[in-house]
């Protein structure tokens, strides 16, 4: 080995070492939703601002992601530095001490700019445990052309009776045109998100103040029966296997007159893949005159597990991905309609963003949901379309399966409710909430 090659080798080894010491790699786990995928395309901006931080992505489908990050955090695995989690997980994990408090984000982050409903859902005992990436509620999306043809107009704030009338008028099964599409696929985050939110507007609740399940009450019966009535008479066939994405596809193909689902769907039904993009109207989720609407509140948020060894770098990343500059960056690259919605007041005060057709309805929907007071009657829990207790994923899925079976015609509504009541009561006893 000659001296020069030796010197060269030494120099390159040194270069390797120093770059290794400089650059820190953080692992970010995220769901494969459009807004997150867009973020991955904008990493050049992050690199320019933080040349010393490399980001490694783990992008997975929502259920697989949830399974992997939950296992990791509960066993203290420490594989991830930034987690994408929702408003269901944050209060539970925050309380367990599994998440790093984000109260010390820089001034420029402007935490007071966050929408109060969203911020409230991510805060436990005064600590903000996750920064919202995008927030959503649910609302009615409907076909203006079909409503017009039926001689109806959709009120800005419809009641469930209005919805049924519109669904009946727009249904024409011979043309594969269904008045209403709703979630039917079993799961705490699928049909139960919709049905729990809907039940709030019917005055129902999961539990009374002493954690006794309430599925034997008339409010739940009314909720389930009117859901089944809508879906059996005016819904698409095979709805018991339809989740968010299946309904989105149907709506984009022009097969649904109405669809009540996440506000983020608005940018898809008016986007390039939609055959009905210019015919979509928006309205608040329906109510029954009881003071609560059937809409939910959710925010995909970024959090740092306490097991992370690189918390400072992770914070820098979260600040970049969720502050105002990021919204402006997306707007400049992809247009205002593609900005992650539902997190900041300033976005909705921006006159440019106000031109987006669904902006106002999204904000109104988010503001009309209150995770701390979700129901007409008092409840011991937090959460609009979920109950923020660790047992809820299992409970919600069990009940969701029963209701999905009712939709598929395998069970009557009464049987489904009675079985739900029994199953939830058993679990709550086993978990020590009730004696």
């Amino acid at each position: 080995m000659t001296l020069t090659t030796r010197a060269l080798l030494g120099a390159s080894a040194l270069a390797c070492l120093s770059s290794w010491a400089m650059a820190e790699t953080i692992t970010v786990a995220t769901v494969n939703n459009g807004d997150m995928v867009r973020m991955q395309g904008l990493m050049d901006d992050f690199k320019a601002k933080h040349p010393d931080i490399d980001v490694q992505w783990v992008t997975l489908e929502e259920n697989v992601l949830r399974q992997n990050v939950t296992t990791d955090i509960a066993t203290g695995g420490g594989q991830y530095d930034v987690l994408t989690i929702g408003t269901y997980e944050v209060p539970i994990w925050g309380k367990q001490g599994w998440l790093v408090s984000l109260n010390d984000l820089p001034e420029s982050y402007d935490v007071n700019d966050l929408l109060p409903a969203i911020r409230g859902g991510l805060t436990v005992d005064g600590n903000l445990y996750a920064a919202p990436f995008y927030g959503e509620s649910s609302m009615v999306m409907y076909r203006k052309d079909l409503m017009e043809a039926a001689g109806l107009t959709m009120p800005e704030a419809p009641t469930w009776a209005d919805i049924e009338k519109a669904a009946a008028a727009m249904t024409d099964k011979s043309k594969e045109q269904y008045g209403i599409c709703l979630r039917g696929k079993a799961g705490w985050g699928e049909n139960m998100a919709f049905l729990t939110a809907m039940s709030n507007s019917y005055g129902a609740r999961w539990f009374d103040e002493n954690w006794n399940p309430q599925f034997d009450q008339p409010e739940w019966k009314a909720t389930l029966e009117s859901y089944l009535n809508l879906m059996n008479n005016y819904g698409p066939p095979g709805a018991s296997n339809n989740g968010f994405n299946e309904n989105l596809t149907l709506f984009q193909q022009g097969k649904c007159g109405m669809w009540i689902d996440a506000t983020v769907a608005a940018s898809f039904v008016t986007g390039k893949d939609s055959t009905v993009a210019d015919k979509v109207g928006f309205a608040l989720a329906p109510d029954n005159g009881l003071g609560k609407r059937g809409n939910w509140l959710w925010a995909w948020s970024l959090a740092i597990p306490t097991s992370s060894q690189k918390q400072e770098a992770a914070k820098a990343f979260i600040d970049w991905a969720t502050n105002k500059d990021y919204l402006a960056l997306v707007a400049s690259k992809e247009g205002w309609a593609n900005v992650p919605p539902g997190t900041r007041t300033s976005l909705y005060e921006n006159p440019e963003y106000a031109k987006v057709p669904f902006a106002k309805m999204t904000l109104d929907s988010i503001n009309s949901a209150d995770p701390t007071k979700p129901t007409v009657k008092p409840v011991p829990y937090v959460g609009v379309q979920f109950v923020a207790i660790p047992e809820f994923q299992g409970l919600g899925t069990t009940v969701g399966e029963l209701f999905s079976a009712a939709l598929a015609g395998q069970k009557s509504a009464d049987d489904a409710l009675a079985e739900a009541q029994a199953a939830v009561a058993d679990e709550m006893k086993a978990a020590g909430y009730i004696k």
Binding site: G34, G41, V58, N68, Q79, N245, V264, D273
Partner: protein, 276 residues
């Protein structure tokens, strides 16, 4: 038992065979066709067999959205690595089972297969904890070990079957000539069993390539193979039939091409002693 057929029967049989083969293959073909459609024409009604706007857009988008070469490389390392390691351990075992059988050989084989009976989900948390504690989590070597152990019973069984077809006298002759046991296995047995070993290798590469539970559960980034790549494209928001088809095609194409070239070996490999 291939025999000559009359021309007319031959024609009829050919048509029938091709019809059945295409029927079985059709889902894969339909996926391939869908991967070249736009999302809108992928869900068009009535379905379009030959869409007017064929496009590579799905492939470019899938390529741009994720680090395909990394997933691909991990899949290659994990599936080939686990199979080679498995062969190295299984060849001696299969040799002794085939040529020095005892009363318990059959029970031993059955026991080996029975280690595959525990449902993966039931041992998920235990194995997850073990992998984490010993530092094998999200490493290629960890997955190589896991998949090797998962497929080891099958490898042993297949090799055992092949070795039994080799007449023991040849090995004995080699020993008479003074070959050591080691030399006997390496220089006499192995070359004779090449077709069997090759087909075992192939089948296990496929099984490892297609494994989609542990490869997702036990990895995050560094060792994640194509199964994780697929999991990042399933059930997203919006129309996805065409993109999912493109991603799926990219995930199975390498193994399909490998299978195509090694079809003959594979046919032998899948016998499990069915042939005498």
């Amino acid at each position: 038992m291939a025999r000559a057929l009359s021309p007319r029967r031959r024609l009829l049989t050919t048509i029938a065979a091709w019809f059945v083969a295409l029927l079985i293959f059709f889902p894969v073909l339909w996926m391939l066709i869908t991967s070249f459609k736009t999302e809108a024409s992928a869900v068009a009604s009535p379905p379009e067999l030959f869409s007017a706007d064929w496009t590579f857009e799905n492939y470019t988008e899938v390529w741009a959205r994720s680090d395909y070469p990394r997933f691909f490389w991990n899949s290659v390392v994990i599936s080939i690595g686990s199979t080679l390691l498995g062969l190295a351990i299984a060849i001696p075992a299969a040799w002794s089972m085939a040529f020095v059988p005892t009363k318990r050989t059959k029970d031993l084989l059955m026991w080996m297969l029975s280690t595959k009976m525990m449902p993966a989900v039931a041992v998920m948390i235990p194995l997850y904890l073990v992998f984490q504690r010993v530092g094998l989590f999200d490493t290629k070597i960890g997955l190589v070990l896991a998949l090797m152990l998962m497929n080891l019973p099958i490898i042993v069984w297949m090799l055992y079957t092949y070795f039994r077809e080799i007449p023991g006298e040849i090995l004995e002759a080699a020993r008479m000539d003074g070959a050591s046991l080691w030399n006997e296995i390496v220089y006499v047995l192995t070359p004779m069993a090449v077709p069997g070993i090759a087909s075992t290798l192939l089948l296990n590469v496929i099984l490892a390539w297609n494994e989609a539970f542990w490869t997702i559960t036990l990895t995050t980034t560094k060792a994640a193979p194509l199964s994780a790549f697929i999991a990042s494209f399933s059930a997203p928001q919006g129309l996805f039939y065409a993109k999912l088809s493109a991603a799926s095609t990219m995930a199975i194409a390498p193994i399909l091409i490998l299978g195509w070239f090694s079809q003959k070996q594979l046919v032998r490999g899948l016998t499990f002693g069915a042939v005498k």
